[in-house]
Amino acid sequence: MDAFILQILNGLDKGSAYALIALGLTLIFGTLGVVNFAHGALFMIGAFVAVTMQKLFSLSFLTVDDTQKDFLGNPLKVETPYVEAWFGENVGNWLQDWSVPLAILVVIPFMFFLGFVLERGLIKHFYKRPHADQILVTFGLAIVIGELIKAFYGANPIQTPPPSTFIGTVDVGSWLGFEANTIAYPTWRIVYFAFSALIIAGVFAFLQFTTFGMVVRAGMADRETVGMLGIDIDKRFTFMFGLAAAVAGMAGVMYAPILSPHYNIGMDFLVLSFVVVVVGGMGSLPGAVLAGFMLGILQSFASMNEVKALLPGIDQIIIYLVAIIILLTRPRGLMGRKGVMEE
């Protein structure tokens, strides 16, 4: 039973990563009608914003210390982070420790800006082009972004620890009445799950309860009519692209302590998130979220030893297997609308 609950927690955690990326993809597809293969790359940029914050706060100047030797036997150059020199050791350490949550503050304006630039500079020119062209140009963009990241940060994964307050585990089992310490779950993963739930709820509330959101939803349903009512729907859709980029970026920042960022995670997440979106149904926001959590939980269960003993290798293919079964039984995914992306 405890193993079962642990895997549900794992599934929710994986699922929230999938759901956040899939949500952003669907926002872009639903509003702009563009299939964005560079969305995984936006997620990766978010993770690297966290890495950059950490590097900025540990940016150091060198002083030569004659009493110590470096590996070649020359006098050791001691590194002192600028933030410690400027703000004192306490604040400096705190900034370094909290670099990941602080990156959230940076990533939101940054990703909005990047989203605007991408939409106005590149994506805009592809509205009238076939979906295949949109897929291909954003795929090319994803390759370029990945390579740029590699040129600056190298190919190795970079450790990005969470603040020390969130290191360690929370005894979830004792809340549910289990024996102490049978179900201990990493604190940061619980923070991550809560954060994702908040973002998802926020996006839905924004679309549901604000005038802006209402217009966007109307635009998603029938762009021409809304345009004819004299509303500049394009501007709002550009904003939605920025929002989707910001959601992906925030997901990336928060995921960095769980998965050390490297230049290829964008591609790793790309395929998975597309499977998630398609299983959920193209253009359906609730579908994307539902499919994200469902696939996350199924993947966790498939990784259990008991399941693997019955079906060796099932954990490697479960996502694809489920995608095939769902697409064959429900032609447009779980909650997709008719006629979307079928031409």
Binding site: D2, A3, L6, Q7, L9, N10, G11, D13, K14, A17, Q68, D70, F71, L72, L76, K150, G154, A155, N156, P157, I158, Q159, P161, I167, G168, T169, T182, I183, A184, Y185, P186, W188, R189, I258, L259, S260, H262, N264, I265, D268, Q299, S300, S303, M304, N305, K308, G313, D315, Q316
Partner: protein
């Protein structure tokens, strides 16, 4: 394919100036009655350095490349000579090899067998290389080794740790200086016994491919010989990223030791996540829960940060060793690049020098002559103590390092500390040991 104009013009001019002096790249020199593939004519000889420059092992590949360039400099008499001064064989004097200046070409394997073979083929067919060196993955090393065997050039393997490279898939034209999974197990065994006792319940997470399996088999065999029990061995997909669903079941499995048969990015992630799940803080069966990473690499240790503290593993070589060979190599490498070399860099550097020395001793670039000179060759001064290249399987036998994540690293380069230098006798095995059986070196192939 469009080339920009300045490039074209530049190249035309350059070729006019330097063209005459360059060696003729060869396609199958054998037809010129030399008896082996790509026999160097003229006054230069070309090596092919085939390493991953893109993909997950790119950083290791680039470090190998640095060391290979350094080795070529030393062979050609540039720089301080590095290990040439400490190498027990004194045939190399910094004037190239057999009077020929050493040149090299580089290629990107992308850590994919197909691409690695394509790149090696181009080195052999287009550039006329007599020797290929490199690799940062066993699958790629085995694939390229097979190719070199068919083409008739020598393959000096770089970082490849699978038993199969000099076991089931060994080839007469291929040579490995790096150690292997069996040696890791044999070296780690006694140290683990001393540190953790004889009654441990070990849980293995193993990368689901040949290297992972052979290492798991080796480690399980050596720990079970100590009296440990293997509770479970779980295979994990390569590149899984999030290992949480494999780590969670360990919490209540009754195991008190986790052995991570992972390498590269998988190792960084699985170790970090295992620590996040609080495994290191746990008490099971009245013992502290421990994690072991049998194969360490400095570059990956840096990626895992403080999670590596106190975790045992093994290595082929480390820059913190105190012998003269290591000091000379670390000095030349450190002065050129500003940081100490990794053990991937070391093995490639040594392999290049060993090849050059074998050619000089044999007096010929013929792969069969080189192989004969390398087989059962005994040497010292290369950082690993007295070493033998065993003729029966072309595997080097030397001391193995048992490492531990340093508790108080003073800088970013000493995150690992040497716990023990396991003497060579302890890691030796019979060529027909069951974990290595089934292969056949075959005949050395000098090419058409």
């Amino acid at each position: 394919m469009s080339k920009s104009n300045f490039t074209r013009r530049g190249v035309l001019k350059t070729s006019a100036i330097t063209g005459a002096g360059l060696m003729l790249p060869t396609y199958l020199r054998a037809e010129n009655h030399t008896g082996f593939t790509n026999a160097p004519t003229g006054n230069t000889v070309k090596f092919g350095f085939n390493v991953p420059q893109t993909g997950p092992y790119a950083e290791e590949g680039l470090d190998e490349l640095r060391a290979q360039e350094l080795a070529v400099e030393h062979l050609n008499g540039i720089g301080d000579g590095g290990m040439l001064n400490t190498f027990s064989s004194k045939t190399l004097d910094g004037t190239g090899i057999l009077g020929k200046k050493v040149e090299f070409v580089t290629g990107d394997t992308q850590t994919k067998s197909d691409v690695a073979r394509a790149s090696a083929q181009s080195m052999i067919q287009k550039d006329g290389c007599v020797m290929i060196n490199g690799g940062s993955s066993s699958g790629v090393a085995i694939a390229v080794q097979g190719l070199c065997q068919e083409a008739g050039v020598v393959f000096m393997a770089g970082l490849t740790h699978s038993n199969d490279t000099t076991g089931k898939d060994k080839k007469a034209n291929g040579f490995r200086h790096f150690f292997n999974g069996y040696m890791s197990g044999a070296a780690l065994g006694p140290v683990l016994e001393k540190a953790y006792g004889n009654e441990r319940q070990a849980y293995h997470l193993t990368a689901d491919y040949t290297w992972g399996w052979t290492q798991q088999e080796s480690i399980a065999a050596s720990t079970e010989a100590l009296g440990w029990t293997t509770v479970q061995n779980v295979l994990t997909p390569v590149g899984a990223g999030d290992f949480s669903s494999y780590i969670a079941p360990i919490l209540n499995s009754g195991a008190d030791t986790l052995i991570l048969n992972h390498y590269g990015g998988d190792m960084v992630n699985s170790l970090t996540q295992a620590v996040q799940f609080g495994l290191r803080d746990k008490q099971v069966n009245g013992k502290n829960f421990e994690i072991i990473v049998p194969l360490y690499s400095e570059l990956m240790a840096a990626g895992a940060g403080s999670n590596i503290q106190g975790v045992y593993g093994s290595m082929n070589w480390n820059w913190q060793l105190s012998d003269a060979g290591t000091a000379a190599f670390v000095k030349s490498f450190g002065e050129k690049y500003g940081f100490p070399p990794s053990n991937a860099a070391h093995t490639c550097y040594v392999q290049t020098l060993l090849y050059a020395d074998a050619v000089t001793r044999a007096g010929s670039f013929n792969p069969c002559a080189v192989a004969e000179a390398l087989e059962d060759f005994e040497f010292d001064g290369m950082g690993n103590g007295p070493t033998t290249y065993r003729g029966a399987d072309h595997q080097c036998f030397k001391d193995v390092l048992v490492m531990k994540g340093a508790d108080n690293p003073t800088n970013q380069y000493d995150t690992l500390e040497i716990v023990e230098v396991t003497p060579r006798a302890q890691v030796e095995y019979d060529p027909e040991h069951p974990m290595f059986a089934g292969g056949n070196l075959g005949e050395c192939n000098p090419g058409a």
